[in-house]
Symmetry: C2
DNA sequence: ATCAAAAATGCAAGCGCTTACATCGATAGA
DNA sequence: TCTATCGATGTAAGCGCTTGCATTTTTGAT
């Protein structure tokens, strides 16, 4: 007998406070449109009933969710963690909630995740990198969901992006490598298929080589997934080559950590016998020994700026600018001169 | 003139296929209740219109979301990454979607995230560890949202959990430490406040000490946040002590990695001068040098099992069992005998 | 061919909220 | 005192979907 024990609705609150549902709704969403005394009464009822608005109903009625979706390639390592955390924090500050899902570097999975997030009413989407089917962007347009690309900066692209120049950054690192005296350069890249960041990083190395009069075709390149084990394995293959490369530039710090682990296992001295470099400057880079010479990416800054830009777009306050984040080479101990006999 | 360019609804599909909305809905949700020919016609219309169901509307009407929420303490490091990834994969296999948010180890933030997830219609929640306000569980009950605790196993707790015995696991590791000859033991723990896993790990060390006739009160303990830098800083403080501990047991691998980094910086040899241990056996543990002696937690197994149990509960197929995941000590190089002069 | 039972489909009532518009007082200038 | 104005609140029409029930069609046994 009496009220059921299920969750209270707006209606219950309205009754308890002796007002209409409209007033309760206004109390919650635009408190200044309701007179002080009423507001107090309503909030009091909300409190005592333990009322939480039903999100689905709200989204449906308001056709707005104050939710931003992000699809990242993986949660399995720390590459995106820091940037995403900053993104979320800033989003929260701007009154939005973040929904994250990961695509495992799989375009089909990404497409599905995008649809899911749109279906869930995301007001905007954060995407990693530019490379994806035009069809996806059409879908986003049709559903009028704005998107922002991060982790990559390309002023030439149609879509706004907040990121860094992958090619230039890697090119600069390669210049350091070359000016340290290295000529036999190998690279362990992430899978370039459908990954513009990986592609650009390879391109950056080639550019630096050409600029120094080296033959870019002479770059020994292995493509593999961004996993420690894969990095280790690729490094092993590289070390079996004759002549051995004197430096192994890795597509990111995770691969480099794998390379270092394998070097250690094989008793190969880094950097005395062979140098190794990374990219990203995640925490890992400082922990491994020797600490990695790598490209520092200000992930937090990127995350924050992406959040601000994306919310601005969603609120119609921006048409979608692209923002370039500056990276810089960090010199630690994994890069040195090539061994003499080389 | 003509149709607007906005996203198609169920109604549009129904019209295009010449059926009622009910039939379209059934096509999508229980295809076997619709005859083959009709189904093809409908799916065809769905396809050509590029229709994606509106999630909010569906949740509202069905009062079910096929969504599971997870609130983890942090995304900032890899502690939860692997387990969560497995959790998500299994969830997906079981037909559910995962929504993740992080609380930054802050109980208030966690409470808010829980409310948010419930408001969003989560059918069930994954929570980390048992320690939280009773009020939260009441709220969950009122909203009839089942929850499952992970990363911790406690058969005595009211709520079902899928996890491991933190105290026992750490106790076993401590036994190894003690039987290696260590007597001056220090520990860098995570903040134990509101964190039953951290508490249990400390307890485990104490238990092992007492079992070996050592005075558990003699344990030098520093509590700090689970961050590399904090681990480094705490290790520094420990090394300044006289007499120095001969072993530093860390609450997890992240703290241990920080300790190792600081040891390296100060030129302290591990394990020759001081031993270090971790907990979790995340990737990091194998990468640092010396590689960490730590407690291996089968995160993927835990994630998968948690997903299966939680979906079973949600579907009413389980009353909520608790599942214990077995851990084991992994011996690597960071633990050795204490130095002789000690 | 006949009819009951089963299968396929349609109808329409919500799900819990927001918001345009209507209503009602109170305030203030004439 | 009267009316125009404005602020506070109420009324009710959806938002796009699911689902119980009603209706129509098919099936199969006679």
């Amino acid at each position: 007998m009496g009220k059921t024990r299920s969750a209270p609705t707006l209606n219950d609150v309205a009754k308890a406070a002796g007002v209409s549902t409209a007033t309760v709704s206004r109390c919650l969403n635009s408190p200044d449109r309701v007179i002080e005394t009423t507001r107090r009464r309503v909030l009091q009822a909300v409190e005592s009933l333990g009322y939480t608005p039903n999100f689905a109903a709200r989204v449906m009625a308001a056709r707005r969710s104050f939710t931003i979706g992000a699809i990242i390639p993986t949660m399995d390592n720390a590459i995106f963690a820091r940037g995403l955390q900053a993104f979320q924090d800033q989003l929260h500050e701007n009154g939005f909630t973040l929904l994250v899902s990961s695509s495992a570097y799989n375009p089909d999975a990404e497409r599905e995740q995008i649809r899911t997030l749109v279906a869930r009413g995301a007001d905007g989407l954060l995407l990693i990198g530019h490379a994806r089917d035009a069809e996806i962007y059409e879908y986003l347009d049709r559903h009028q969901v704005p998107s922002l690309v991060a982790w990559s900066y390309d002023p030439a692209a149609q879509r706004p992006s907040v990121g860094f120049r992958n090619a230039d950054a890697m090119c600069e690192l390669a210049r350091h490598v070359i000016s340290a005296g290295h000529r036999r350069i190998a690279m362990i890249s992430g899978m370039t298929q459908g990954n513009d960041r990986a592609q650009s990083r390879v391109k950056g190395v080639r550019q630096a080589m050409e600029a120094s009069g080296l033959d870019a075709a002479g770059l020994t390149l292995i493509e593999t997934a961004y996993e420690i084990d894969k990095g280790a394995e690729a490094f092993g293959r590289l070390m079996a080559l004759t002549p051995r490369p004197t430096v192994v530039m890795c597509g990111n710090d995770v691969l480099a950590a794998g390379a270092l682990r394998e070097a250690h296992r094989q008793g190969i001295q880094v950097p005395e016998q062979v140098s190794v470099t990374g990219f990203d400057d995640i925490e890992l880079a400082e922990i491994v020994s020797p600490a990695l010479t790598t490209v520092h990416v200000p992930h937090r800054e990127m995350g924050r700026k992406a959040a601000c830009e994306l919310t601005a777009i969603v609120e119609g306050k921006s048409e979608g600018r692209s923002i370039c984040i500056e990276t810089r080479v960090v010199t630690r101990h994994s890069l040195a001169k090539p061994p003499c006999q080389s």
